[in-house]
């Protein structure tokens, strides 16, 4: 049993996690939940980075990446939340179907 087959379960879980996030991203009608879905996908990717480091034996590098990723992630979430709140102030709802003024 080598290292690669040992980390295979991680790979499967990453895929499942990402699938959950993507599914939610597409079907949800709540703008804040869109952000949550993005977060779930981010979790999957974080895990994948760690697993990648584990497999290749570059754990320190992977950790460095994950730390950077987490910092950036926070900023993205803040920006997204800011936009959602501003939209809410305009429309009084979080329904994503209200974001269809621009079309055609």
């Amino acid at each position: 049993m080598n290292l690669v087959s040992l980390v295979m379960p991680f790979g499967v879980f990453v895929a499942l996690l990402a699938a959950v996030g993507l599914y939610c991203l597409i079907v949800t009608r709540d703008m804040l939940r869109v952000i949550l879905a993005l977060e779930v996908i981010t979790k999957a990717v974080t895990l994948l980075l760690i697993v990648g480091g584990l497999v290749s034996g570059h754990m320190a590098l992977a950790q460095a990446f994950v730390i950077t990723l987490i910092v950036i992630e926070v900023v993205v979430i803040v920006a997204a939340a800011g936009i959602v709140i501003a939209v809410y102030k305009h429309t009084g709802t979080l329904d994503i179907r209200r974001l269809r003024n621009l079309k055609g």
């Binding site: 990402a18 590098l61 920006a79």
Partner: protein
């Protein structure tokens, strides 16, 4: 020293925000100076780069090459122009200052992006440029801007997640993220399903970022709803650097040309060229039409890249540069029209060429350049792309490119006719030419367009063809 191009904006942002009141007024000159410095720097290193001289980097940002220096120049020009537009359209002083800071950060992000040679650092700077743009798009906190920003943010986040997943997969494969190491590892296992999945995820992310059809959903909304200065920056350079440049760079340096990647670029390029032009044809919002036109033009760049030949790549990069110039010019003029008339709806405009002669004439130049009318710059790059396609044996795609040129001409003529020609519409009688802050950049960009077009025979040997040699 290229590293300065990232560090100077950072320093500028930090210094300008010291709690001293007069500093705020220095922000605009500082931004202009920085852009000028960058343009001078890029022009300074360009000949050496094209001559193939190796550049020694003393700090952590690596090599300069022709592609990088061309992009640095384009970033400088567009940033310079959008600062002017910002001045003319931002309104409130406080907001103008805040937006300027974000422009600094976006420029730093783009500069970093074109200078790095490491996948993960590429991701970091790509995110920096993108985050700055989301916030800029939403800066006025109007409903349209917020909607565009949100769509852009979600799709861009999805794209970066794909790229990061791919980076993780490649990290497991090669143990490094530097271009060289990854390219080596990819070369060794080029046909493995694992590698192809990683490749596909990365390419998918980049295609979303470049706004290629069918990955483009966010693009027309973000472009058309953003504040004038931001859409200038965004359409002119941000998406071109974060998407198209990154795509070109990675395909050339890391992924390599395989029949599959070529096929892929050709297919998505062709879809973008045609569908983008078709979608632009029926628009009534000026900026939205320009946004769809952008998609179509990016399609041309992909087609040129797909040939994989020196000529095709050089033409693609040339078109990237030209596109930055003429699309910026068009967005500046759209800003001028919107500012002076209060609307972007082309059905409510008409006869503005009499009232706003500079805007009218420069728009016409830019449109002709986009549509590929000789001897403007856009004609040459389009011609070279089509020639490269033909020479590489992709005759069908070459013909498609020519046909789509007609569509380009058609929608731009309809724009010109509805906005600038014809009778002056009721309500437009008292329209005047926009101020110098908008006409000056227009003239500058138009001069570049014409100059590049006329100087082409010289440029082609000196700068254009060496691009392939990196």
């Amino acid at each position: 020293m290229p590293s300065l191009l990232v560090i100077l904006p950072l320093l500028a942002v930090l210094l300008l925000n010291l709690p001293l009141n007069f500093l705020r007024r220095l922000a605009l000159p500082a931004a202009l100076l920085l852009a000028l410095y960058q343009a001078a720097f890029a022009l300074g290193v360009l000949p050496a780069c094209c001559a193939g001289c190796p550049t020694q980097e003393r700090w952590f940002l690596n090599a300069l090459d022709p592609l990088t220096s061309v992009l640095l120049l384009a970033i400088a020009i567009v940033a310079f122009v959008s600062v002017f537009v910002l001045r003319a359209t931002a309104g409130e002083e406080r907001r103008e200052f805040n937006m300027l800071n974000l422009v600094f950060l976006a420029v730093a992000g783009m500069n970093g992006l074109v200078l790095v040679r490491d996948l993960f650092s590429l991701y970091v700077f790509l995110e920096l440029a993108s985050i700055a743009s989301f916030i800029l798009i939403a800066a006025h906190r109007e409903m349209g801007g917020l909607e565009g920003a949100f769509k852009y943010l979600v799709m861009s986040a999805l794209a970066t997640m794909m790229m990061l997943a791919s980076i993780a997969l490649l990290l497991a494969l090669s143990g490094s993220t530097s271009f060289g190491a990854v390219a080596e590892a990819l070369q060794a296992h080029a046909r493995h399903g694992y590698v192809l999945t990683a490749l596909g995820l990365f390419l998918g992310g980049l295609l979303i970022k470049s706004g290629v059809m069918p990955f483009h959903g966010w693009l027309p909304d973000a472009y058309s709803a953003a504040p004038a200065a931001v859409s200038t920056l965004l359409a002119g350079i941000v998406t071109k650097v974060t998407g198209v440049y990154a795509l070109i760079r990675l395909v050339l340096d890391v992924f390599g040309f395989t029949p599959a990647t070529q096929q892929l670029l050709l297919i998505f390029g062709a879809i973008s060229v045609v569908a983008g032009a078709l979608a632009a044809l029926g628009q009534s919002d000026m900026k939205r039409m320009l946004a769809y036109s952008s998609i179509s033009q990016v399609g041309y760049i992909l087609l040129g890249l797909a040939t994989g030949t020196g000529l095709g790549i050089a033409a693609a990069v040339f078109h990237l540069f030209n596109h930055a110039i003429f699309k910026t010019l068009l967005f500046v003029n759209a800003a001028a029209v919107e500012k002076q008339t209060g609307t972007r709806d082309m059905n409510q405009l008409g006869g503005l060429a009499q009232k706003m002669p500079i805007t009218g004439v420069t728009s016409l130049l830019a449109m002709f350049s986009t549509a590929g009318v000789p001897p403007l710059a856009g004609f040459w790059s389009k011609l070279l792309i089509i020639a490269a396609l033909w020479l590489s044996g992709f005759h069908g795609y070459a013909l498609l490119g020519i046909g789509a040129s007609l569509l380009t001409l058609a929608y731009f003529l309809s724009l010109q006719r509805r906005v600038f020609f014809g009778l002056v519409r009721a309500g437009c009688e008292n329209v005047r030419e926009a101020g110098w802050a908008l006409t000056l950049p227009s003239l500058l960009l138009a001069a570049i367009l014409v100059g590049v077009g006329l100087a082409l025979p010289w440029l082609i040997g000196t700068f254009l063809l060496p691009v392939k040699g990196f």
